[in-house]
Symmetry: D5
Subunit: 151 residues, 10 copies
């Protein structure tokens, strides 16, 4: 059945095609948008809503149709695979969460008490650190601490 809906997956496909055609990098796109590369990639590939102004920059930069620019501003369904992914690059993040997660939890409770690090009021960056024994990937994250309410 033909409809006039452009889904978020359609937008993501348009974004990736334009990025290849124009030989852009995510860092370059992020600089144009004026946001960090992780946030920019996440929003451009369907895991977050862009403010109007940022959606319009993406639209101009990537020649997106108006419907795609509108769709970028919708709150998407942030579905991710609840089975642990097998792509080796992403899997290692889960192995880290599995092996080091209990130690992370112990540190959070020792420093803050009962509560969590927010995954919503949250930011993250990835950078390259030179090292004579082999360069390293550096990941930095901060998330607001949220204490359990008692009532």
């Amino acid at each position: 059945m033909a409809t006039d809906i452009m889904t978020r997956d359609d937008v993501t496909a348009l974004v990736i095609a334009a990025k290849k055609r124009k030989k852009l990098s995510w860092e370059g796109i992020a600089e144009e948008v004026g946001m960090s590369p992780i946030w920019t990639h996440m929003v451009a590939t369907g895991m977050g809503a862009a403010p109007k102004e940022k959606a319009e920059i993406l639209g101009r930069l990537l020649d997106l149709p108006e419907a795609a620019v509108a769709e970028l501003q919708e709150c998407p369904s942030k579905d991710w695979n609840r089975d642990i992914p097998t792509d080796p690059c992403i899997y290692r993040l889960y192995e880290i969460a599995g092996v080091f997660g209990p130690s992370f939890k112990a540190m959070v409770h020792e420093k803050f008490g009962d509560g969590i690090m927010s995954a919503i009021d949250f930011d993250m960056s990835v950078s390259r650190v030179e090292d004579p024994k082999g360069d390293r990937v550096k990941v930095e994250m901060t998330g607001k601490f949220l204490a359990y309410k008692a009532w």
Copy 2:
């Protein structure tokens, strides 16, 4: 059937009991051991092997029997739950890996090419960052980049 084996779970139980009895913190234990708090917690609770010297410090600090000190030096089976855990504090790490994992992968490939961030040649820290809008949990990780071999 009675045996003379002390399992790693037995050692972990002894460690946690001694830490409570002696009112120690993980940061304090780590300082005595001369290693980081995350590494110290991980090894003391069964996710890694301790060098002989570090195992002996843990043994003295926590009054562990000789068999426990020996067990701490064995390479454990680092089993973690392949179902995503439900404890809210640990779950958020998986939600981050789910929501931001594809963006992490895009950054790694853009900066390094086809390969991964090692979860073995890897380190991690957790700290508290003061913030007037609510203090934040900060997580820093570095892992060696490993490129896929071509042959």
Copy 3:
């Protein structure tokens, strides 16, 4: 292997046994503790950490040993069954989340934008509403809205 650890499950068993022996209700216990019945039940059965003062009231009321009172103040591992439970009374909560969850999400985004209702900075109550066609269970919840950070 004998240890001096009292686990959280041991504390829960002691709490339930004392409640039966003393013929107390959760509402009655909550009133003594000075907190709501849901919070009191949750903490007393191992899903949250009690402030020292509240743990001590629970200890006096239920004749708990000192180790149990200490354990009530620890941040527990809040593990719940990631398979949807089959007990019909609890299952209905999941059926509600399944059938009405997308409508809930649409309302949250329409009223607040991209973000979530916190399950940490959160409270909840259950009450009985008389109704000539059959009394009703009333559930009220409030949770802080958390907006996704952009950076």
Copy 4:
């Protein structure tokens, strides 16, 4: 194979497209329909059957074809994902059911005896509560208590 069937998913797609095109809100649609926003969203997106009169209002408001108006009156298969969803906004409802579900069950049995809160003879609302420490999402539900029959 071409058939003259319009599925419920087709109707949902038409509804969402029309809502965007006409820049309507769910609250606005609900007001026109004369029902609550949650019920209206649920029925319009395929989780319930609409009475003839309500289906026709939806049809006029959203320019739906006659087949769609007829389909809205059919009893749909209310399938929801029995794996816990990963979208963070919906996931928090399940985390609440997991962490607080046993306390909910204890309250229901303490106030009513052996039985359940119906998820069928049930209503629900979502509203925004202003709060100087950050506005809160408020959820209210009532469901008829059903006692287990003994025979």
Copy 5:
């Protein structure tokens, strides 16, 4: 850790042991209790709460200790295996639900509209029907129809 709690599983084990020792049948026990065999078996093996009077008859009949008689009156957690069981006798019930379930749903909606057959306000019996081609098992169930509320 020793406690004074008798769990529901303990009660079930006592019930089955007494039934064997006294060479009773479920039909005979049900007759003494004055209820149907299905209800009696279900309650005596932990899937429902017994009224005080019925619990006491079961106690006298099966020589149960006082704590067991009290436990029979508690609202149990009616946990059943959400994986389809493999015991061939029980599996066939699920195969029937799988093969004939959609036909059952079509009949309910055709006769009643949008709603369900209650599994709470529900009764069931099993009997033997003589048949020259081989005797048949007959199952009869009735459950109250519950219509979806519109609000």
Copy 6:
């Protein structure tokens, strides 16, 4: 790739479309076919093979093409979802099998010995029973008892 095969799902879609277009009920169709409503619905929607004569009545009644009438006579793959379905109307059948299944098994063995109720040599009906406290759904099933062979 175009082929001359009409699958069973194609036939089911044709059946449902014709039923709507001609405003028939399952009871009405069954009466024409001269079989029970449950059997008729099951066969017409792909869970069983129809004898030639019954397939031809269905074909005439619903204007099915010859290929569909032929396909109705094939033995279908009776696949059903081995995950328990979430549609509330069908789910309740599984909840009944879960909560009351062990009691059903106990009755079968008490009345017949080791064996099962057949789900193949089996029949079932659904009817409406008036009741001043709310009408009830009545389900009746009989299945041949099959004893385990000993050899």
Copy 7:
């Protein structure tokens, strides 16, 4: 809690211990019992009920206590692992069912029509066939054909 119940698993453990101690083979036990080896093994290890006479022979042969002989006559819960087992010897049976199952189904329907081979009114044998290219395992099964009832 101490009870006077001997479970079926206890009986199986007794059977296997006695078989080793007395250096018996399953073929030898079956000959004493006067039944086939497969049936004898199945019943003696908890997958079926033995007639009184056969249970008593097993009891005498294996020095089982009276409670075990009684338990052998009960209808057991024939639970098997619904996850496909990994033991290579048993796994191959499932691989055969997976690879050749659809061909088996096609043959059954071609020779009998819509129905199944009973797994209840069923027998099976395993034997060794000499072959110069390597001896072969031979498995023979027969099960009663059951036709789907139409009503």
Copy 8:
């Protein structure tokens, strides 16, 4: 994207369509091919590679295009559903493997030692056995015994 590949599923669909159109039986096809019905069905529906000569007979008999005849000679990916299928006719094979598998394993080890019955060097037949109490399905299999290597 259009390609010149004919997949194995395309071939299977062509085979089944031709078999219906020409009103052939699997026994008849197998006779023409000069192989057993089970092997013929398995290879013709994508679970094995056919030798050139047999593929060509199938091609002539069923009017298959050249690309299909070539595809029949490829080694297919023999994927089968690792979840136990629910079609009742095939399910019974798994129930047999579940209930009788441990007895099968005991017989293999008693007669041959540590090893398995091959599912590769394997053959199987299905036949109809007349029986006054109801005809029976007979299944015969032989597989080469493979002993575990010690080195």
Copy 9:
């Protein structure tokens, strides 16, 4: 929605079609590319990124369009089935990992200490070894040892 994206799956389909059409073997393709057959197959079917020069050789050899040659140089998402595959040829690799994996781990730790064999800095070959008792498949792998970092 039409886009100008050629996915990796499209490239794989083109590769396999060309290989059949040109009657090439993987060994022959690998020789042209100047790399090992395993690496060549892996990259050509979407499990790795090819250096520009190798992608261009593949393009010329298999008449791939320019977009496919570009796609071969992208870092793919190396997704593999986290459920153990059922194809018998591949399944045996998993059975080996299951049965012999713990012995592999013991050897690695005995020879190297706590760490792993890399699956990234890794190579592998498959060859045929003649043997009078039946030819054998030989698999050789080497992977860099990675020691757990302590910090």
Copy 10:
């Protein structure tokens, strides 16, 4: 219930305890037994049956009781976790099977035709290869090729 059975897990625990107490290595044990280290570890930890002579050497070397020596000669149930293990050292073997498995299958079929590498008539070794860029783990396996039978 006390029995005279020593399970295979009991034997494994005895073996590991004796190895630690006597400070033996698997290579040293294997040399005494006169077999390879992988085979020796596998049999000594419960994944295979030992010939009488080898079991007796193990018994003398590790001071095992007579019942353990007898148990080592039984054919064990070689159960392994059908969920992919999370221990990083073992997981990498599965990642290799996932990423390189299809390439392995292509090589086997190109060199041998339709069939598999046996995991039963199979051997394996692990060794350390010095390398200036970091030492490597080398794994070698051979398994008999088994061709699919046609009949």
